[in-house]
Amino acid sequence: MSLLNFLVRRIIYSVFVLLGLSIVIFLIARVMPGDPARMAVGARAPQWVVDRLREQMHLNQPLVVQYGYWLSDAVRGDFGLSLITQRPVTTDIKEFLPASLELVFFSGLLSAVGGIGLGIVSARYKDTWIDNVVRVFSYFGIVTPSFVFAILFILLFGFTLNWLPIIGRVHEQTAVPPLVTGAITVDALLAGQFGTFFDALRHLLLPAISLAMGSIAQEARITRSSMADNLSKDYIASARALGIPERVVMGRFLLKPSLIPTVSILGLDIASTLSVAFLVELIFNWPGLARYGMNAMLHKDLNAISAVILVLGAAFVTVNIIVDIIVAQLDPRIRLSATRSA
């Protein structure tokens, strides 16, 4: 119950944070030069069309009133028209967000599985060649920007070896499942189309790995070092001294506390991949929200920019809450202090 309480408090606070964010965004959008109404209908549209639109957009009213209208529209999911696609931003977001989430989710999954796995292997075989390989890999993984990985992977796996597709979400002749969630992998499973599922997975692989490389490396390094740190802790010595078998000590009493920092950082990483994703999406022609947002920014499409930032902000905050919950599950100290303060 108290965890629920903690959750509710976090959510309410996040709503206020997002509200604050919306003010910042609104200000950026309105301070920009240019007439939003003129931008919405194009440079050569007749003046009467623009005037009517100004009226409809409340652009002739004071800024505070405008913000009120903008916010109440935004809350109802209406962010106005996008300049680049010429249709409601909400429609765009509905179309592009699932692809981004799918990508970020798989990249997060790869980071978690790959990073923690490598970290454990590295810690287990500490100071052997395996460990050294993992450590060198981690260093390079961390310092190489994701777009460099994207380019290298396209060259290597896509072009030279021709193993994996480098464009699109499924092969052009693959039947696309009925859209439910918008994430093709999920929809394919829902429709029972396993061929499509695997095809979508193959298309996801390169972009997801490019995006995940940095955090795989980061996670491996953190898991390794936190396991190594904890390995010299007294509670491990104590567990061993009291006759608990090695596999239980390592797999249980060492692993769980060691995962706490990994999970916290993993959460941050996943949340920030939401924004780093744009370059990878750009390079792989992945129709995601980050790329859409990037295009919107390059083209000063203010409605789209505002909406994308708000949506990404909301996603970011949500991921952070989820991570907090997972960490609280792993770490009773946090759980207890949270419930105490609640």
Binding site: G20, L21, V24, S272, S275, G293, I305, I309, L312, G313
Partner: protein
């Protein structure tokens, strides 16, 4: 840090302030020596320092070091375009006949400048706000500062920078400004946490009792004790800022051609993959080396301070 705290504690008795100052200075000197010793024991950190120093030298001496300094400016030589790596052009030439190596060396300038300027813009206000919020915990100052910080921290870091950069005219300075705008809250949050812990320490209470000014408490009592975490974060952040800078220029929001920047070189060079691979791959390697250097350095600084804590 631990040493300094204990010096403060001991000072309440009979030693004169001048003596304390001298002791502090001595202990700092000693720390510095010991830290450098510890730091230098780790070969990776030393590689980091050497790399960073070399890079800085290359960047500052670019006009002297680069084989073809003119190639960093408006220059075309289509007769020698797309030459693969050879003796005259170690990293080959690009689509316009410019020496890739020379352009990388000049490109280091904007990368390093970005790292330095962004941190210089970000750290003072971030730290100041963190100190204020931490010291005035529970008061409206804290509420205002930390709520604003939370708002900025609620957006994925890169997005806000891109948004700001996109509304400004694309150039290096606006890119820096944009990155700075999103970076300060991390320092505020870091220093805030430290300041909250420190304000209850004896030496702060002691200073309060003896009627020291707020400025004195903030800058002479609390600030010196937050230096090592701040330095650690800064040294690790340089690498991040450089990566983000390269991302901005990759999408055309940073340095404008013909002035070279590593991100732009990769973006443009990617068009000539895979046949003229050297145009994109060498700048990409250069970024990796730069970031790796700063990362190793940052790790070294962190380990050094971590060792000092225990």
């Amino acid at each position: 840090m631990a040493e300094e705290v204990s010096t403060h504690r001991g000072s309440v008795a009979s030693i004169t302030p001048e003596q304390i100052k001298e002791m502090e200075r001595a202990s700092r000197r000693e720390n510095l020596g010991r830290n450098w010793y510890k730091f230098s024991r780790n070969p990776l950190s030393v590689i980091g320092v050497v790399t960073v120093i070399l890079l800085i030298l290359l960047a500052t001496l670019a006009p002297l070091v680069a084989p073809f300094p003119k190639h960093a400016g408006p220059f075309t030589d289509f007769a020698h375009a797309k030459l693969p790596p050879e003796w005259g052009h170690l990293f080959g030439t690009d689509q316009i006949g410019r020496d890739v190596l020379s352009r990388i060396i000049f490109g280091l300038r904007s990368s390093l400048l970005m790292g330095v300027v962004v941190l210089a813009l970000v750290v003072p206000p971030g730290v100041l706000l963190g100190l204020l919020a931490g010291y005035f915990q529970g008061m409206w100052i804290e509420a205002v500062i930390m709520r604003i910080t939370d708002i900025f921290l609620a957006v994925p870091p890169l997005i806000l920078a891109l948004a700001v950069a996109s509304v400004l005219e694309p150039n290096l300075w606006n890119g820096m400004l944009a990155v700075s705008l999103m970076w300060w809250p991390w320092y505020t949050r870091l220093v805030y946490g430290l300041a909250v812990a420190l304000r209850n320490e004896y030496f702060v209470s002691a200073a309060e009792v003896t009627g020291a000014s707020t400025a004195h408490i903030l800058f002479r009592e609390i600030l010196p004790n937050t230096v090592s975490p701040i330095l650690t974060k800064m040294s690790l952040d340089v690498a991040w800022v450089i990566i983000i800078g390269s991302m901005l220029s990759f999408v055309g929001l940073g340095v404008q051609p013909p002035e070279p920047s590593l991100g732009t070189m990769i973006a443009d060079g990617a068009r000539y993959l895979p046949d003229q691979w050297w145009i994109a791959i060498f700048p990409a390697l250069a970024i990796v080396v730069v970031v790796l250097g700063f990362n190793l350095l940052g790790d070294g600084v962190r380990d050094m301070f971590a060792a000092q804590e225990t």
